[in-house]
Amino acid sequence: MAKVTVSFEWLSGCSGCELSIVDLHERLLAVLEQIDIVRLPILMDVKDYPKAKLGIITGALRTHHDVECAKKMRASCDAILAYGTCGVYGGPQGSGYAHAQSELAETAFVNNPTTSTHFVPDQGVPKLLAEGVLALDAAISVDLYLPGCPPHAYYVFEALRSVLDGKPPQFGEHNVCYHCDRHMKHTEVAALRRVHQGSLEKDACFLSQGILCMGSATLDRCRGACPTRGMPCSGCAGPSEAIVLEPNRDIRTEVATRMSMMTKIPKATITSEIEKQAKTYYAYAMASPVFREKPTFLLRRWISQQGAAR
């Protein structure tokens, strides 16, 4: 069987997605036997964009240069896979959505407590997009999405296998709760609390303890890494399928509905808290057009209502 040609491109991200491919460990060899890598920026010196069956793009769009590269990938590849939360939803740097680009640069360069200089570098450095950070499909059409920060090896392997075999991937669109074995239960908890406020019950659902966990509103691409290890989910793989597909649903309505059913905390109190702490609870997917086009979603207003410093 002829090998499948694969071309990689790396835009604004952290390199964690690239390492997640290496972290297939011994299964990496099985994948490499089936593919012919024609372009891989971190490993090979290929300047142009050779034709390929599959183009894998990691990272979000941050600069005009990123947009150019994405377009060249689209033109040279039969199918494009957006790999990782940055490419799919903008990723953590998408939180820059809440700020003007000049604010970000001023904090780092102009008004930084340990920096003696007071100018923003501007000689030969790439210009940032005025919109801040964009998800990949803001500039090009995307055929396949694999969110996750980074995606767990199970999903990476299955996604690559499905493309190589030309069959649909054998993983469901579950949310993070699917892998969590904490017990959901009715409680008398009447107020929200943060993870540092009071003791934690080891085996009970975080929501029933009054602690916000995004697991029920987040697509599982991690195999439940956080809730199975004592951590509430922070939503790093982006929203669940229900939220992506239905315009009237949102992270806060999904979580508030479940939590208010398990506790004595009113639904409105929960939605209001998530709005107040929007930067925390939308940290990984703020830049996504999936949210911007939702009638329920007023991120910039919620954040600005918390004061200019936030």
Partner: protein, 467 residues
């Protein structure tokens, strides 16, 4: 924000890293600068987030050593929530650090520096890469790759995931070890220790037999590293700066970093450089990372690595000015981390279920540091009375080295100017690589580092050499 210091030679600038070399009227290299071209803005957009999100969010600054951001922000939260971690949690965090250090150092030494060191710089370009190393020395290369895999698997077990771990929290760890995971870790650490001995021996012999390469890029500059007493400590301790003459310039707690370090923006780069300032306000460059750490430490605290450190100092000098000796230092640290992992897993304390101290009063300001694979990493947070971030300041390992990297590039370019472009590019690439800067692509190559070197004189662009 260039805090990640991700220079992406390939995607950021026509697929090239950029090095700018200025030639003076006398025809000699006047200055050389490495340009950092990535900016994300973490310090600003974390303002307004809940502080407890920091250990998982800040890992996303860098996927190459996310554990370092994870641990340093958890250490800051310990202070912020007045919750010193219990002994088992401290062991688990250090084990996480050891695993990640092994992974990061192993991938650097073999995928990146290894081809030059084992195959020689004059070997054909098409073969001078990891694939060539796998062909020429398959047994050694496979051992090194296995070592990397073990390090990352240790992080997966202790940290919950390999890239972007999740378990370090305010006051300790979110979960402890099970008997099964402890047994798996024990076996992995024992295997890592045997592999570490083999790769150190091979690396050391290859470097020692080529004194020209080892001594090629000397740089007498201050070194900064973390010590407990006089011993190397990769997780906690005081920061010490040692001068090139061997005397101690200053010794301080990370909380006082702003009194001793100052950042400066550079007009051509999103990467700020950091300098050491004295009481008069005068500044000096310094370096961090494996070479600097071994220069500062008298001992490592583990038996085999102590012997390896003594041999390293006897061969390379004390303090060693040899930039290339940093590659050897990296292997000594792998051995130390493997030994330390074995001994920590032998300590029954690590199996304790008590891994998390309940939070107490909120402190409005918290500073912490840790030794990342590439050197000192500092996180500094101010929060309001509800532990919402008001401001954050991050000083990342590669930033400390920017000034020394530029000096070493200048040194390499001066020696090679007038020769062929290919030699110039090779020499500049070799020089940059000694610092293992967190330019993610340069640390994980199979082929050559795609690079552009532009030569300037009197403000005029003369020509560019690139590949």
């Amino acid at each position: 924000m260039s805090r990640t210091l991700t220079i992406d030679p390939v995607t950021r600038i026509e697929g090239h890293a950029k090095v700018h070399i200025d030639i003076g009227d006398d025809g000699k290299v006047a200055s050389a600068t490495l340009h950092v071209l990535e900016f994300r803005g973490f310090e600003r957009f974390v303002q307004g987030m809940q502080a407890e999100l920091m250990p998982t969010l800040t890992t996303r600054i860098c996927g190459t050593c996310p554990h370092a951001h994870h641990l340093v922000s958890a250490k800051a939260l310990d202070i912020m929530f007045s919750a010193p971690p219990p002994p088992a949690a401290l062991l688990l965090r250090q084990l996480l650090n050891c695993g990640s250090m092994i992974h990061s150092h192993a991938i650097h030494f073999f995928a990146l520096a290894g081809p030059d060191i084992f195959l020689g710089e004059k070997s054909p370009v098409g073969k001078r890469n990891l694939m060539g190393l796998l062909e020429a020395a398959p047994d050694l290369a496979k051992k090194a790759l296995r070592l990397r895999s073990i390090g990352q698997t240790m992080v997966e077990i202790v940290g919950g995931r390999g890239t972007h771990p999740v378990t370090a929290v305010a006051g300790g760890m979110s979960c402890g070890l099970t008997k099964e995971s402890h047994a798996t870790l024990n076996a992995l650490a024992a295997e890592a220790l045997e592999l570490a001995k083999v790769v150190l021996d091979a690396g050391k012999k290859a470097l020692a037999k080529d004194p020209e390469m080892l001594g090629r890029l000397p740089l007498k500059v201050n070194d900064m590293g973390t010590l407990k007493g006089n011993a190397l400590d990769l997780y906690d301790g005081r920061l010490r700066v040692r001068k090139p003459d061997g005397s101690v310039a200053v010794d301080f707690a990370a909380a006082d970093y702003a009194d001793h370090l100052v950042e400066e923006a550079l007009p051509y780069s999103y990467g700020k450089q950091v300098l050491l300032k004295d009481t008069s306000g005068a500044t000096q460059p310094y370096r961090v990372g494996p070479l600097a750490r071994l220069n500062c430490a008298e001992v490592t605290g583990t038996k085999l690595a102590d012997a390896a450190l003594a041999e390293w100092k006897a061969t390379c000098g004390d303090p060693s000015p040899l930039v290339v000796a940093g590659h050897w230092a990296r292997l000594v640290e792998i051995l130390h981390c493997a030994e330390k992992a074995v001994s920590m897993l032998d300590d029954e304390t690590i199996l304790s279920a008590d891994v998390r101290t309940p939070p107490g009063a909120i402190q409005r300001h918290a500073v912490a540091h840790v030794e990342a694979p590439r050197g000192v990493l500092i996180h500094d947070y101010h929060v309001d009375d509800k532990a919402i971030i008001e401001s954050a300041n991050f000083v990342v390992a590669t930033q400390h080295n920017i000034s020394s990297i530029n000096t070493t590039i200048k040194d390499a370019a001066s020696r090679l100017l007038g020769g062929s472009d290919s030699d110039l590019l090779d020499g500049v690439e070799f020089a940059i690589r000694c610092y293992d800067p967190c330019l993610s692509c340069s640390t994980h190559r199979v082929g050559q580092m795609p690079l552009e070197v532009s030569l300037w004189q009197g403000g005029q662009h003369i020509r560019s050499a690139r590949r």
